[in-house]
Symmetry: C2
Subunit: 356 residues, 2 copies
């Protein structure tokens, strides 16, 4: 376990605020679009956005491989390209709703988005490099460097070979049809659909095959579900079932509380799970649950749209939505506790004033 | 005066945090680029980002004009185009450093960016509409609607005709060479160079000429410098002289404190003023000021780059930068107090640990 920062109760610290100002979430009105515009995609940058020389960039495939490789961007762009629409969520989404909470990015519920990522299948690169038989993990090294929990390092994560070789894992060079923006990993990033965002390493420079479990801080110590500081924990992997709604009506600037006119109001949102397709979504008005209607078509790795009609009557109301996936997972009514604030998939609640 | 929210001391509220998570600032490492990538430009959206039908969008020029106009996007794109590189800063930049502070977006120092805006001169549209002689102000109405200080309204601001007719005021349809992104006002926004960002109305729908001072909330009540709640105040207009540096070295993830190695370190940043060109920038190490070197060339309405060399010695140090403009304005050493947290141009300070 790293040296841990003391937990925070009550209002937010200057450090949390600075992280929130740097790392923008997706404004929830953007849930109206299946595809999040690039400039609205949520963003978590652990250290600084690296300064990059694209012409000199080489992606190395190295370590326990029979034929080490080094690709420049033009070589990668000439390989067969694949585009996938992928919903990505930060493992810490919802952290800011917990108390006491771990000192880190205090997401409320906006740490989720969907983009079209274009790139090369990782499996294609690994097949060219020919993994040795004793390979246990593939490590993905980013260019971003800094200090966390007292440890200086470049951000790096690993996958088991059976995960890395899955057909949908990409080394991406484009987002929503344009070159990767600097903050999303330009010129290259990993995309691991259905996993929390930490797996999709940005500013990807080196892919390294090793014969042991990777012990880097972001793999072996951070990004674990833990009940206590003594708990070894379980690694964060696939996204838990979750959902959110586009808040109806108009907001108050400061409180973001919503105001609508009485009458029939269509509530729309999106639901996702890394474990299985979405099976159902429910909308509650003041605790009374009703089934929402799911959109029929949606890409395999993207969220699924849903909508429901609310007969709004004058007064103060609370809306809530919860999703269930085909593996039988349902969002909990209360945020699930985790020491580091990971995996909070408690139902999304929105307070609304209905004017007569 | 609107009903005011009570001031906040100490740590940040959930409302402030939610506004910071929605309204992303520019990560200060982006100061290395004169032109801020579109997805990193700071963003303040008062209400929701409106859903827009570009094909149906009409910009009306109406009110006290002899020939009312309505332009669709294709008509505007066929008019003579002009591109300007413009530094824009939120009037509330630095609010989060004040105490007690006004409950609003708690910017630290990241509410500033520079973009290339392309569009039509506003003067061209006003000349086609032919302003009547009794026009006192031109009002710019956006599509974004919500509630602030108890008042429901669409965001709207005004300019005096002599300001509106200035050659550099644009109705822009492109940012950094691409169509405006939704969050920056698609399909049309006003660009008022040298003014704080509130003047550059997004989602521009109606330009209205009137014969009196505009009394909208965002013009007559918000965006005023005030010493007390009883103070009528002075309107926020041109950006005060200000500067910031790209933090050197590498960050700690949570505290964002910087670490560098001892030796010669180049510190670089940018400085801007709406009142006059930048005349000089100074860098202080532990309170000892030295002149920085200014970049020679810079566009008329954009920030000016500067750099200085720091001979860093092991230990804890504080860097600070301050700019002076040709009108003789210099940044204050301490944040200037304002009731609503506007116009804080106190010097930018960065704490650095130097390793031997």
């Amino acid at each position: 376990m790293p040296s841990r920062r003391p937990p925070i109760a009550g209002r937010y610290t200057a450090e949390e605020l600075a992280l929130a100002a740097r790392n923008r979430g997706m404004p929830l009105e953007a849930l109206r679009d299946e595809l999040t515009p690039a400039g609205l995609h949520y963003l978590l940058v652990h250290f600084d956005i690296p300064a990059v020389d694209e012409a000199a960039w080489r992606l190395q495939v190295t370590g326990l491989v029979k034929k080490p490789q080094a690709f420049d961007l033009n070589q990668l762009r000439r390989l067969p390209a694949r585009t996938l629409r992928v919903t990505m969520e930060c493992a810490g989404n919802g952290r800011g709703q917990l108390s006491p909470r771990y000192p880190s990015v205090p997401w409320l519920e906006e740490g989720v988005s969907t983009a079209d990522w274009t790139g090369v299948r990782l499996s294609e690169l690994l097949e060219r490099a020919r993994l040795r038989e004793d390979v246990k993990e593939i490590v993905f090294h980013g260019a971003d460097r800094g200090i966390d929990a007292g440890v200086e390092h470049r951000f790096a994560r690993s996958l088991a070979p059976e995960q890395a070789l899955r057909d949908e894992v990409l080394v991406a060079y484009a987002m929503n049809g344009a070159p990767l923006p600097p903050q999303h990993g330009a010129p290259l990033r990993l995309i691991v659909p259905r996993w929390y965002g930490m797996a999709s390493v940005k500013w990807l420079r080196v892919i390294e095959a090793i014969d042991r479990p990777f012990d880097g801080l972001q793999q072996a110590r951070s990004y674990h579900f833990r009940r206590s500081a003594a708990d070894k924990g379980e690694p964060c992997t696939l996204m838990r079932v979750n959902s959110a709604m586009a808040p109806p009506g108009i907001p108050d600037f400061y409180t973001r509380k919503r105001v609508v006119e009485a009458g029939a109001i269509e509530i729309a949102g999106r639901a996702w799970s890394g474990h299985a397709p979405i099976a159902s979504v429910e909308l509650a008005v003041d605790g009374n649950w009703q089934q929402a209607t799911l959109e029929h078509a949606h890409p395999a790795h993207a969220w699924r749209g849903w909508r429901a009609t609310w007969q709004a009557t004058a007064g103060e109301h609370e809306l809530a939505c919860r999703a269930t996936d085909e593996a039988g997972h349902t969002q909990p009514l209360e945020p699930p506790w985790d020491l580091s604030g990971f995996g909070n998939n408690g139902v999304h609640r929105v307070k609304v004033t209905v004017r007569p």
